[in-house]
């Protein structure tokens, strides 16, 4: 029985993926396109978070540091060493993985709550550090100059990862990243690492007694999460062509990433995607309609959502769907 459902789910996934691929050709408004790109980006960030936070149950509230590691590494390498952002992305991911190991090694030995607090602390330290590090832009941030074509206009270049005339490639790259992460999550869900992550989340000591090297697998989850978050950081840098500590390292970003996954349903494959499709439009709408006070209001909404989810529906939207279907 379960096999049929798995095939059914894969087919649904492929159909939806196809729909998303066709979408930009049907709806070509730049505003919508931008919204979709943001949805894909945050879905990706939430999926990456889900590996360590949802599956392994280690709540990280500092994933923004990996986002920044990716964005800053590729940008700095681009500006100072004229390295293509694609290579910069890999360098960023490697840096993020090392950071994850350095942070995780001591902190994972502490209980889950301490891990969350430690990640908040590290995030705040990173923010303060980057805001004062003038060599990499400090609080003013870094701007990536346009790559100009023959006539001097900002052009489209795959090598330098910039698409200024036709922004469509950004859409497809973001979509591809989201789909890759969904595929990875689905693979984890069905195979040994995912089983071990979930065992650790449910009962660490029982997992140990069954031969699970708990520290090693927590680190694995964290490293995977960090690497993909960093890749998305490079994407973000090349999409906006501007990065600064506030946009990449703020605590609210780390919280938002976690919230999207939690809203959608932790530890599920679809949850983070669902969460992003719901939360990001809400965030953008509130920002647009409430003008300058938009930023504070979306924080209030996030807070309220955290409370509501925790109290009424800890399993998130995915859990709600299951309940409605009467399972």
């Amino acid at each position: 029985m379960k096999k049929t459902t798995f095939t059914q789910r894969t087919i649904i996934a492929l159909v939806l993926a196809l729909a998303l691929v066709i979408f930009p050709f049907i709806v070509s408004s730049p505003v919508t396109r931008n919204l979709m790109i943001l949805i894909f980006l945050y879905a990706g960030l939430a999926q990456a978070w889900n590996i360590v936070g949802g599956f392994a149950g280690q709540v990280s509230l500092g994933n923004a540091i990996f986002f920044a590691a990716g964005g800053y590494t590729s940008t700095v390498l681009l500006q100072h060493a004229t390295v293509s952002p694609w290579l910069g992305a890999i360098a960023g991911a490697l840096l993020a993985m090392i950071l994850a190991l350095i942070v995780g090694w001591p902190v994972f030995r502490l209980g889950g709550h301490y891990f969350a607090i430690a990640t908040i602390a590290i995030g705040e330290i990173a923010l303060a550090l980057m805001a004062n590090w003038e060599a990499v832009g400090g609080a003013r941030g870094l701007t990536i100059p346009f790559v100009r074509d023959g006539s001097g206009r900002p052009g489209d270049t795959w090598f330098w990862f910039q698409f200024n005339q036709n922004k469509l490639p950004y859409y497809f790259i973001a979509l591809a990243l989201m789909i890759i992460l969904a595929g990875l999550t689905a693979w984890l869900d069905r195979n040994k690492p995912g089983f071990y992550f979930r065992a650790i989340k449910n009962d660490q000591d029982a997992a140990r007694s069954l031969g699970v090297n708990v520290l090693r697998y927590k680190l694995l989850a964290f490293v995977l999460s960090a690497a993909f978050t960093a890749l998305l950081g490079t994407f973000y840098a090349q999409y906006l062509l501007f990065i600064d500590p506030e946009s990449m390292l703020a605590l609210r970003l780390s919280i938002l990433i976690a919230l999207i996954a939690i809203l959608g349903g932790v530890g599920t494959v679809w949850g983070p995607i669902l969460g992003s499709f719901v939360l990001i439009p809400v965030g953008e709408l509130s920002r647009a309609h409430l003008g300058g006070s938009g930023r504070a209001v979306d924080l209030i909404i996030y807070g309220a959502l955290i409370v509501l989810i925790s109290v009424f529906q800890p399993a998130g939207l995915m859990g709600l769907g299951r309940r409605l279907r009467g399972r």
Binding site: F195, R198, A199, N202, S209, L210
Partner: protein, 242 residues
Amino acid sequence: MALLEIQGLTKTFGGLTAIDDLSFRVEEGEILGLIGPNGAGKTTVFNCVSGFYEPTRGRLHFAGHDITGWAPHRICRLDMARTFQIVRTFSDLSVLENVMVGAFSRTGNRAQAERAARHVLGLTGLAAKAGVRGGSLTIADKKRLEMARALATKPRLLMLDEVMAGLNPTERQAAVELVRQVRAEGITILMVEHVMEVIMPISDRIVVLNYGRKIAEGRPETIARDDQVIAAYLGKKYRSRR
């Protein structure tokens, strides 16, 4: 050579001595029962042997290795498995998935792990409940699941911590039957138990603990008549009743 050898094990927690200079062996293929009044230190012995506590003094040898101070997951890799006194089911995982976690200690392949898990589910009578969420099982089934999960790691030594507690007589019968089946598969069993009617008939040998010390060791019939054992359980007053 004995499969498990405990030499001079001592475990203190601050000022409290939970285990005091305990030594005994478990021979391959036998069922050894570990009994004693509440607080005698039985579960502490398990925790020391399985790597959850670090012994204060003494040495532990298993399958020819000195495992003193080893981490639990490493000991499991050496073919020792245990259950917990208060069941630790993976609540969010299904019965099958619970057992698969155990099976994955032997293989990285999902299909193989699933096959091995289903085999164990069949042996332990849980096949019908394979898809049920671990958290919603009855206590008897949770205990059964815990055994199945431990068995999936293909241990040479299985340590059972009060598997009979909380079971009604019918459930107990089934559990005893299961323990016998496990031994028939060639697995050595070290079991802690309170329920005398169960552990006496099933064990080849018994070790009795009181206040962290071994007060008797031998065949069940001998133990049942031992003065010190009777005194430990029933009080000195009953010692002279025979």
